[in-house]
């Protein structure tokens, strides 16, 4: 599985971390909906740790699409919310 951290690059992950990422993903959505900025960063930081810690960076010469994408490490909740909102307007 390929995971991209926006502004940073892609990582290839295998095995157990996937489940954990899905759990974190669900929590992340919850924090975004609740507008809980500290909680949002806390969950996101765990996801970054997991991806960077368990994954290996994808070589630049390998051109592959990602399965999951994480926001920029310094992105605010509002920024991610706006990005998600562009899904509706952008694809219309």
């Amino acid at each position: 599985m390929i995971v991209r951290i926006l502004g940073e690059g892609q990582y290839e992950l295998g095995g157990d971390p996937l489940e954990e990422l899905e759990e974190l993903d669900a929590k992340l959505l919850h924090k975004i909906e609740a507008g809980d900025e500290p909680g949002f960063h806390e969950v996101l930081n765990k996801a970054f740790e997991k991806v960077r810690g368990s994954g290996t960076p994808v070589d630049l010469s390998r051109i592959v699409p990602s399965d999951l994408t994480l926001p920029q490490p310094d992105a605010s909740l509002e920024e991610v919310r706006e990005l998600l909102a562009s899904e509706d307007t952008g694809e219309a």
């Binding site: 992340l28 051109i63 699409p65 990602s66 999951l68 994408t69 994480l70 920029q72 694809e91």
Partner: protein, 309 residues
């Protein structure tokens, strides 16, 4: 659907939109290569823009430094004139500039960070573009094979994703720079209009008084020196210009009343009149500051303003 999955779709779709219009996947590869080349040029321009913005901030900081040095000199002058109140005022203004300098430093740090990020982005993109160029030719050569079509699809998605990621990084950097430039522009306007140092002079009677009394005491000093050196005194117009900021009070306060020709000088602020006034204020103001142009300019603006009032 989870946030991370949705983000993937959004990021890929961003660049895909531009590529979707092309029917032949081989053309899509060429087009996406062109787009990457364009993007590389954009990012390089971005690096240059950040560097320009950073240098601009550095220049502003220098200007603020000069102003601060000048205020410190004014405080010294005021103390020398036994005017602690005015000295206090000058120092408090200097503290205000120090706060502004701190703000500039924060912005400067952020710009340096952005600059470094964009440099890394440029390097990454450069490497990717080069690698993509050879890969797309391989993919195009084997296009007839069914498997290759899938590969092309993947490559296009992959490259779309990278491109929008880079695009977003650029956009974020530009947004940050734009907001910093707006703030930096405000400071620059203040400096250019002379409002920052002169806000001092025009809006505050205490500062005006300090300017006046310091000019006056220097003029008294020069007068004394001239009287000592020369038998006949120099033309009164030159002396009048120096005290022309507040003609009425000057006339009251000045001890050598006969040489003060303030009303005349104020109505005729010609160049020969103004020059000695600048010369009179220069020695004291120049003491602490660097010998650059900025302190001199500030001196000029103070002198001009005094003459206009």
């Amino acid at each position: 659907m989870g946030v991370m999955k949705r983000l993937t779709g959004i990021v890929q779709a961003k660049a895909n939109k531009a590529l979707d219009r092309v029917e032949d996947p081989r053309e899509t590869l060429d087009l996406s290569y062109e787009k990457q080349i364009e993007q590389l040029a954009q990012v390089k321009r971005g690096v240059a823009d950040v560097a320009t913005a950073r240098k601009r901030l550095e220049l502003q900081a220098q200007q603020l430094q000069s102003t601060a040095a000048k205020l410190q000199d004014q405080a010294r002058q005021a103390l020398a004139q036994q005017r602690e109140d005015l000295a206090r005022e000058a120092l408090s203004r200097r503290a205000g500039i120090s706060t502004q300098l701190e703000g500039l430093k924060t912005q400067h740090d952020q710009l340096v960070q952005q600059e470094q990020k964009l440099i890394v982005t440029t390097q990454t993109l450069q490497a990717r573009v080069e690698s993509f160029r050879t890969q797309k030719e391989t993919l195009k050569a084997s296009y007839t094979a069914a498997q290759a079509q899938t590969k092309i699809g993947e490559a296009v998605s992959g490259i779309s994703e990278s491109m929008s990621d880079t695009g977003m990084a650029m956009q974020r950097a530009q947004d940050k720079i734009a907001s910093m430039q707006a703030r930096a522009g405000a400071v620059e306007e203040l400096l250019a209009s002379g409002a920052l140092p002169d806000m001092t002079g025009s809006s505050d009677p205490l500062q005006a008084e300090l300017d006046k009394t310091s000019q006056q005491s220097q003029i008294d000093l020069e007068l004394a020196q001239m009287k000592g050196a020369l038998a006949p005194p120099p033309p009164s117009g030159a002396l009048g210009a120096g005290t022309s900021s507040e003609p009425d009070t000057v006339a009251d306060d000045a001890s050598p009343g006969e040489v003060v020709d303030a009303p005349h000088a104020a109505s005729n602020p010609s160049a020969p009149d103004a020059a000695p006034a600048e010369a009179a204020t220069r020695p004291a103001d120049g003491q602490g500051g660097p010998p650059g142009g900025a302190p001199a300019e500030e001196l000029f603006s103070l002198g001009e303003q005094a003459a206009q009032q």
